[in-house]
């Protein structure tokens, strides 16, 4: 079984290709793409957020069978120099950092659809949980990245 991940076709090893297996575990335990995190297993926290065809998806409840042939992007494929990552560094967003891959993937999916999200739109789109409380910096960094992308377009 093959998956299209970060623009490359990847063959899943034998122990990680059950069609019912959540994408999260195929990435982590099958392909050693450990940037995508396990937080709850029930799509409640968002630590496992990846993009499937550009949409944010919680990979812990996404069976492999549902993503065959679709374009999967993980944190390893976001950069290396995405405007959000630069903004994340400039605003020194992460603390423990465990939720940040998911935050970034959710934020990147938001900016794809909405080049200049309002606070309310950020509130609605970024439902990922952060136990360290990086939220104020997450918000500021998303605005900064949006502004930077808008500037680059102009």
């Amino acid at each position: 079984m093959e998956l299209k991940i970060n623009g490359e076709l990847k063959t899943l090893p034998e122990h990680a290709r059950d069609p019912a297996m959540p994408l999260l575990w195929a990435l982590r335990d099958g392909l050693d793409l450990t940037g995508t995190k396990f937080g709850c297993g029930v799509a409640a926290c968002g630590a496992c957020t990846v993009q499937v065809d550009g949409e944010a998806r919680r990979s812990c409840v996404t069976p492999l069978a549902s993503v065959a042939g679709r374009a999967i992007t993980t944190i390893e494929g976001l950069g290396p120099d995405h405007a959000l990552q630069r903004a994340w560094v400039a605003h020194q967003v992460p603390q423990c950092g465990y939720c940040q891959s998911g935050m970034l993937m959710a934020a990147a999916a938001l900016l794809r659809k909405n080049r200049k999200p309002s606070d309310a739109e950020i509130d609605a789109a970024i439902t990922n949980l952060c136990r360290c409380g990086t939220y104020p910096r997450v918000r500021a960094a998303i605005h900064a990245a949006a502004a930077q992308l808008a500037g680059a377009k102009a």
Partner: protein, 766 residues
Amino acid sequence: MRRRTLLLSGLTAAGALLVGVAALPPRSRLGRPGSLPPREGELGLNAWIKIEAESGDVLLAMPRSEMGQGVHTALAQLVAEELRLPLERVRLIPAGYESLYGNVAMFVGQLPLAPQHTEPGQESRLARLAQWSVAKLARELGVNATGGSSSVADAWEPLRWAAATARQQLLGAASLQWGQALAELQLEQGWVSHAIGQRAHYGELARAAAATPPGEVSLTPPEAWRLIGRPAPRRDVPAKVDGSARFGIDQRPPGLLYAAIRQAPMLGGSPGAVDAGAALRLPDVLRLVRLPPYAGSVPALAVVARNSWRAQQAAQALEVQWQGRPAGALDGERIAEQLREAARRAAAGGGLAFRSAGDAAAQLARPLAEGERLVEALYEAPYLAHATLEPMNCTAQVKDGRVTLWLPTQVPGLARALAARVAGVDESAVEVHVSYLGGGFGRRLEVDLVGQAVRVALETGGAPVQLLWSREEDFRHDFYRPAGAAFCRARLDAQGRPQALLVGSAGDAISPRWMERVLPALSSRFEAPDKTTAEGLLDHPYALAHQRIAHEATHSGVPVGFWRSVGHSHNAFFMESFVDELAHAAGRDPLDFRLQWLDAALPRHAAVLRLAAEKAGWGQALPPGVARGLALHESFGSIVAQVLELRLAPDGQPRVLRVVCALDCGLVVNPAIVERQMESAIIFGLSAALWGRIDIGPEGVVRQSGFADYPLLSLAQTPRIETHVLASTNPPSGVGEPGVPPVAPALANALFALTGERRRRLPLWG
């Protein structure tokens, strides 16, 4: 002497002031290069610092764990400062296991001292003696722990001395080699030079420096600091934005197997008969391992598989006959009742009086004169879970008589000791690799997972195995923040001035339970007085002629542990809610009331409170439907005041709009980190104050099992947060935890200001 003591940390102040009585100067933690063995191309100067010969980069032994609090950056700043290096040229290497790397300040912070005794530079004789004694003991114990908001306070003197000593050795070596006077040498960006053109980088001088005595060593004076006090970027941030940062769960040693766990649904329960047939028939499932209890864990079952998902499925598929807790099922309601009774007993003259003056009981019993008031209230707080976002995990390999651990831990040395006991090997045969921690908050001061993972690894034929708990297991088998209760009584005179205060509190003692789990050799049957659930009451900053602050330490049987800000987390709610009640009973403004009542010997408290009030616009009009509450609390040596603005939605749900935070945490090493830690603590504290509760049903089962029933504040619910730091020349004090305690009372006090309703039980909603 006097001036220098102002620069010393809480720990070394005691040592330095007592030099002559017994020698514990800061430099005793310099250590020898042998503690940090140099590898090819490296030269060791002391136990903290090596120099890489070719690049001249400094390698710093890092004993503390990075869990988002920025310790890897802040400690490197101290060293880069003294060695006049750009921050990025101080590289971190793991410290070894020697007692030299133990955390002394954390243990000193366990002393039950009121702030009147511990004001920096004005410590009482009693406090100095106690601090010195505990420091001495802690130095002997040498427990390497990251906790108690102590890392910078602990490192402040020893690390700067280590770096300054290395600097003088490098300069001395250049002076000897070039035949130039020390005073004529320049030191810049890792280069030593002389005006006539001689120039060498640290790597070129390191070999000679190692053989050169340091001579006179002095610390860089504050006016010459280039890095301390500046917002240096965190060194762990780049790896945390591209997915390359490795947490415990991300360790992938070759041939890794994966294990999941199943523990009894009830606290203290254990598995009896097990039918593992269905579980073991699942593909890629390898074996079942029975786990005895380790370091506070319950007897459990583990399943090993070729991936974590299968392991979790198989653990769920086990058919288990669970056996209840041998001493009887725990019942949260019954424990809460016992805590209320214990708090009333403590208030009625029982318990351990951590602080007393005059005769509070007699003053409170006196008949009330015209205009005098008696105020009393009972407060309660629930158990809480840590809920680190990275679920509990430990990766272990047992092979050829050696044990290797990869884990996110706050206590690597204790993990090593337990791994050695479980595997039956000498500690020297155990290697611990500390990864980044996906949150700690005290949960990773425990080593229960280490025992479990090593036990599993003994069964995998030398293959490494990663034990990962599910989120449900994490909530159901935590070492919880203890529930607590406090009964408070006070008498106000006719002018509304507090005359007498009686506080009786109760809660499970944490330290003795933790010692039993992680340092069994040192724990004793004798239960030493423990302040872990009394702190935050006994150390209040108010002036009273008559008071008795007593605590009854209980032992409910519920597994309890250290939770971000420990006893302060609920005792600040009790104390600062009660102070607010007194202010309103006296008909006074809560800010003015506190400012008048604060002990005149504690001007920093008043300054912090004034700063928060001023920045928040205390007293200025707010939009209709919005009210402010404030709270002031000292913990871990730092004083924090918060002013919170609250609105209620039409359905009664709270909306916290803004929190203004002011603090005095001594000298600030990295203001950007301090600001973020305040935000972090406020958000952490708000989750707990609004909704946080762990309920133990009558059958001993913890009712909460995930983020659906243990909600965390979301981005959309996060208020505006502003942090203001009071300038200080005192040694650094805690930052990671002190922002948590004032949030809950500030919220409760805002609710009262808004609605007139006084809520005395946490959480305030839910």
